[in-house]
Symmetry: C2
Subunit: 427 residues, 2 copies
């Protein structure tokens, strides 16, 4: 793959560009806004994720000879547009909610300002990244909250596209997961990776004992032995015999893991392996994690549910033109109406820190009076196409989300279906 | 992105490798099998997709200095394993269902043979690709069938990860979609791309008429005008006034598109634009498409539902060790049991061509007698790591799927929830 992101784009972005360059409207100063009309069904909050990847992707949104040749050969655009694209790099401004911030229906998650021509071509790429990463982070945050401090390892890479897997690992980590199985996510984002063995390793060996011995010889006793290939009780007995009471952990990947964890804990304790941890995995989602809260489980492995957004695989954000030449604009025909004009947002809180509501107001109009417990939500990200200094890191995002979840009204963390935990109010 | 796919892998593949190299079991000849224990809830068939991408990804599964340095720095593997990985390229055999083939619970979709060491490391990558692409193709096939020959344009790139979008466009095309909006899919796979304008283009201009005029000036009258930005009836009147009765198409993206299409058809006919087509889009899935069958719709634009697998975003396939040193092996503890041994499959048909059942049998045992209407399902794909000659193309896959859908018993194409249309029988 080359590093240009320029063709990760819908055809119509370039047809619009070409028409707008031809009639001169391409130069009009415009404001595009990213927002979600609603949260996924029953969800009480959303989590912004992917922003840092968006900024990187905008920097890589340039047309090399390879992209230009493709566009020329397929006749997607004309010569004037090809020449314009050859010189393209985004030179406008971006503001937005930092990663890890909560969002609600209508929150102005990202604001892109520039000429129509330079801003419209980013639509598809910006949305792909934010819609995917925010969907994963929003699901992962519910799982993290349900786990009540117990660590979760993300291990769903095999259940989603091979590069989506890398972004999903990042989004899950942002939302409080402890580690990932994905090695590329480790390289690219510095996320700690973990892994021991699969059932294949057990079946490869002539006996369970031989497999445990090979693993312990190589990885030491502070490893996780997979005890459910044959008979779990026998497996645990063999595991402790091979590794001793210093055994780091056992993993149970199938069956009724709550019941099995309780039995395993008793057995481990009886064998003297009181510090051996119990890791469970296998089709866990936020509801299964919550149901295991009273069981002696030390860590969760979560796969399919997190990388597929646990029922909400996309965040449904849109990238809408809201201002042209300083005038608010909005589609008006149907239920899919948008509110015109560039907007800012502030979240108001009680003195205790609990969020009350999110006020969304015209940036160029009268700003609401900020109290000491109110917090503006957008930050500057790009100025004249360049990243501003001191953009938040991935760890900043983790901390921001942790604070954000604490600020929710108590019912906001309920896993059941409900209304957005913080109402958005348009001034 | 560099071209190596080697870190698109779970950590534990390499820990297993490292232990198996240390104790000598890594050299044992093994067979891994990819299959799905079940179809997504209520689905009657699955569509294999992604195989060609898997074969490419296996060829790119090599460890360059960059990957080795990362693994060394993070201590994922030891020096012996690093040296082994530096020389790695897959030298085994792969057989499988060609792309576009239907599959059912237990179908041996892909069989990977090689030493444990060389075959185990491919697990994550093979599954990521097949699970994603097959999920999309399986959903897209239902939409294609529901569209009854009317063309569908895939336009969901913005609702999924930016690279998943490219693979999704490919899978949808494989499953009968006519075109895609995704330019990278056009470049990479030669899929025809389409696109005209979004509402932003309408709002950019001082009036709907000005926008239509700009578009027609640039793209000609055989373009698609988006008529639902303000008032649809006024929009259609303006569209025909600007483009004339030669106007190619109008697009309606919101509202009750069935009712609107009927009214639009009457209006276009009354204006003399009898050949102007009507394209509808906006939250369409296979059920919405089916419900529009009686309406005067000429083409569908489908986004979110297809790229998210229409409720089933992953195919749930697994990659299981089924044979070691010629002996069948299988996990035995719980409900997640697998059937050991290398398997082949044949689909039996009535003389009319309708599929009766799929017989899955031990490759090394007695093969069932093939009748003239029976069809073996696996084909050779890699031999000693090299692609065999004449592997099917993307167009072959499209045709294979078309034939496969025709061969289903009539209830197999129903969109409602049901059982697998073709039972799998294990001999």
């Amino acid at each position: 793959m080359d590093t240009s992101t320029a063709l990760l784009t819908d055809h119509y972005e370039l047809t619009m560009l070409s028409s707008a360059l031809a009639d001169g409207t391409g130069d009009r100063p415009c404001v595009f806004e990213v927002f979600a009309r609603r949260l996924p069904d029953g969800r009480r909050y959303g989590v912004v994720a992917g922003t840092a990847r968006v900024l990187d992707a905008i920097a890589d949104f340039t047309f090399t000879d390879a992209e230009l040749a493709q566009l020329e050969a397929t006749g997607v655009v004309d010569a004037q547009t090809l020449a314009w694209l050859a010189d393209y790099s985004f030179g406008g401004d971006v503001d937005g909610y930092p990663e890890g911030e909560l969002y609600f229906p209508g929150s102005p998650i990202m604001t892109v300002r520039g000429s129509f021509a330079e801003a419209v071509v980013l639509e598809t790429l910006v949305l792909s990244i934010l819609n995917h990463d925010s969907a994963i982070a929003s699901a992962a945050a519910r799982m993290s909250a349900a786990a009540h401090g117990r660590p979760i390892i993300e291990m769903g890479g095999r259940r989603t596209h091979e590069w989506a897997a890398v972004a999903a690992a990042r989004a899950a980590y942002l939302a409080g997961f402890a580690t990932t199985s994905n090695l590329e996510a480790g390289r690219r984002y510095g996320i700690p990776t973990r892994g021991t063995v699969a059932h294949a390793f057990m079946l490869l060996h002539d006996s369970e004992e031989a497999a445990f011995r090979a693993q312990v010889d190589k990885l030491g006793t502070d490893t996780t032995l997979l005890v459910d290939t044959y008979d779990i009780t026998a497996g645990i007995e063999t595991a402790v015999r091979v590794a001793g009471t210093e055994l780091g952990a056992i993993r149970i990947d199938s069956g009724d893991v709550g019941v099995l964890a309780r039995k395993a804990r008793e057995q481990l304790d009886a064998l003297g392996a009181k510090d051996t941890r119990i890791v469970v995995s296998g089709d866990l989602d936020e509801h299964a994690i919550a149901a295991l809260r009273a069981e002696p489980v030390d860590a969760y492995g979560v796969g399919t549910s997190v990388v597929t957004g646990s029922g909400a695989p996309t965040a449904g954000m849109v990238y809408k033109l809201v201002e042209v030449d300083g005038r608010p604009v909005a589609k008006r025909s149907t239920h899919k109406e948008s509110r015109g004009g560039r907007k800012s947002a502030v979240r108001r809180h009680k003195p205790t820190g609990t969020a009350i509501d999110e006020i969304i107001y015209a940036t160029d109009g009268e700003a609401p009076e900020f109290g000491e417990h109110d917090r503006p939500l957008q930050i500057p990200m790009l100025r004249d196409g360049q990243p501003v200094d001191g953009l938040p890191t991935l760890d900043d995002a983790r901390q921001r989300l942790r604070r954000g979840l604490v600020s929710l009204p108590w019912e906001g963390l309920k896993l059941s279906s409900g209304e957005p935990a913080v109402p958005t109010v348009f001034l």
